[in-house]
């Protein structure tokens, strides 16, 4: 790891001020992603700003009946929170198997949402791909078994690594962001960005001196939610594909729904075809199967990951069955 100067920021204002710096300054939260990247020389900041003590680490109810989660809240505290799980069960389902206990004890909500891609070319210093300012993507003709099956227009073919991002998009969350120009709110669905040649160095809309401070969750209303992950290993790894569904119900009929897939695209992937297939239908096994089929109709796998299409199909179907209260394995 390259040596760096360190700032222990204790307020939002101080954190932003410390990030505004002529060299490279990066925020440090739980460090479970950033420190590994620095050890591998993927990032070599001259300044590291500890934001754990600067950003809110609590969750609080909002006047509109929703919840507001601070970026410094640790994943374990989210898991152990008395109310969030009751109102937003998919968030807890997504948080339960993140990494390992030790990782959940340190990692924060803000760090989880802003963690960088796990693409092995990205994580290897020797491969200077688009994401590191190079002019090619090594995954295209390389080892791409864990890469994207949706949104594969390039230039990068990563899958977004955040487990929490998917239920946050599905619940229609908004992120509060602060920076030297003030604060703004961004819908979770618009926070994460599809890669283009202009923005491929990042995965979201944050400027260098901006920080995510809060996740604002609207009151869920009369919804049924489901979450299903397919993992190769029970711990120590990311899911191969997973899905959160949040369905607004009218009696037994799905009025409208959000179907969001994770680990399959450069952003949490909201599936319009699946949502259309659900609208106006009774919540049952046939509907789930049809929606799953619709979801994967858009898939464009790479040379080595067609197997993920079936996994994504299963994740969508079982997340919907889960919402319907039908037991799956």
């Amino acid at each position: 790891m390259k040596a760096f100067a360190y700032v222990n920021a204790t307020s939002e204002k101080d954190a932003v001020a410390a990030l505004k710096f002529d060299g490279i300054a990066l925020p440090l939260a739980g460090g479970q992603d950033l420190l590994a990247r620095m050890k591998d020389y993927i990032d070599t900041p001259e300044r590291v700003v500890n934001v754990k003590n600067a950003l809110d680490r609590t969750a609080a109810p909002t006047s509109g009946g929703g919840w507001r989660i601070g970026a410094s809240m640790k994943i374990v505290d989210l898991l152990e929170h008395a109310d969030i799980g009751k109102m937003y069960p998919a968030i807890i389902a997504a948080a339960t198997d993140i990494g390992t206990p030790q990782i959940r004890h340190q990692a924060t909500v803000g760090g989880n949402l802003n963690q960088r891609p796990r693409c092995w070319y990205f994580r290897n210093e020797e491969f200077v791909c688009y994401k590191k300012g190079g002019s090619r993507c090594f995954a295209v003709n390389g080892e791409n078994q864990y890469h994207a099956i949706f949104g594969n227009d390039g230039p990068s073919h990563i899958v977004h690594p955040s487990s929490l991002a998917v239920p946050f998009v599905a619940y229609g969350a908004t992120f509060r962001v602060i920076g030297s120009k003030g604060e703004r709110e961004v819908a979770a669905a618009e926070y994460f960005t599809m890669p283009t040649l202009q923005n491929v160095l990042k995965e979201n809309v944050l400027d260098d001196d901006e920080l995510l401070t809060h996740v604002m969750l609207p009151a869920p209303g009369n919804v049924k939610t489901g979450h299903y992950e397919v993992r190769y290993k029970a711990s120590h790894d990311w899911p191969l594909a997973f899905t959160t569904v949040v369905l607004a119900m009218n009696g037994g009929i799905v009025q409208s729904g959000r179907v969001v897939l994770g680990a399959v695209a450069p952003v949490p992937w909201r599936s319009k075809p699946a949502e259309d297939a659900l609208a106006g239908k009774p919540l049952n096994e046939a509907t789930a199967a049809a929606a799953a089929e619709a979801a994967v109709s858009e898939a464009k796998p790479m040379s080595g990951n067609a197997y993920k299409v079936q996994i994504a199909r299963t994740a969508v179907k079982r997340a919907i069955l889960n919402a319907a209260g039908i037991k799956t394995v």
Partner: protein, 212 residues
């Protein structure tokens, strides 16, 4: 500056240093010096948040109930600080990437990967290492159970497992086997002695872990 720093035990994490690395790191020295100067000037000018490092800074840790005063760079991990500077070598450095659990310590009651924690970040917190588990010469219930059921082969993962199992039993004194499995999920035994580790944890739970 760079050449002497490069020889510190906590610096090189690779077996061989490629020419590219060398050139990169060699470049860092001058840059880092520039940053200190700029950082100091800026800190004074704004009276905003204080910038420390990249050189050695005082770091005070509370380890196994005792205060440990160190002078280390901000980049030094809790694991390297204790192993290389405080002679607490019980916890092992294996992957150094938060993927194996050999470095597991307890910080304010919860297990963490000490390799993935900056020492400077855990000042003022209660840090416990494997060295802190035995009291006045007698092993704690987990340590004793690991000996009794022979829950190790090479033993390299053992300190991390013992810390993780101790933390688990302090929070959940009568765990189900599912709770043990999940509680120890963050630790890996390359020799594969997981069955014995489960047995030892069950045996320790039966005896009860008393917090020293």
């Amino acid at each position: 500056m760079s050449s002497s720093k490069d020889n510190l035990p906590d610096k090189p994490d690779r077996v061989s240093v490629s020419r590219r690395d060398f050139l990169k790191t060699a470049g860092v020295g001058s840059l880092a010096t520039a940053v200190t100067a700029a950082g100091a000037a800026e800190a004074e000018a704004q009276a905003g948040p204080r910038v420390v490092g990249p050189g050695d800074v005082p770091v005070a840790l509370t380890v196994n109930g005792k205060r440990v005063d160190l002078r280390i760079e901000p980049r030094v991990t809790l694991l390297d600080a204790l192993r290389n500077r405080a002679d607490l070598t019980g916890n092992k450095r294996v992957c150094d990437r938060g993927s194996c659990g050999a470095c597991t310590m307890i910080v304010d009651g919860r297990t963490v990967y000490a390799c993935s924690t900056l020492a400077i970040d855990v000042q003022g917190k209660q840090i416990r290492t494997v060295e802190g588990l035995a009291s006045s010469g007698s092993l704690n219930a987990v340590q004793q159970a690991f000996c009794d059921v022979d829950a190790l082969m090479c033993g390299f993962c053992t300190p991390g497992f013992i810390v993780a199992a101790t933390a688990l039993l302090e929070r959940t004194p009568n765990p189900t086997s599912e709770q043990i499995r999940r509680g120890l999920d963050g630790n890996i035994c390359r020799c594969g002695t997981f069955v014995r580790i489960m047995e030892a944890t069950v045996a320790a739970a039966a005896k009860g872990v008393r917090r020293v």
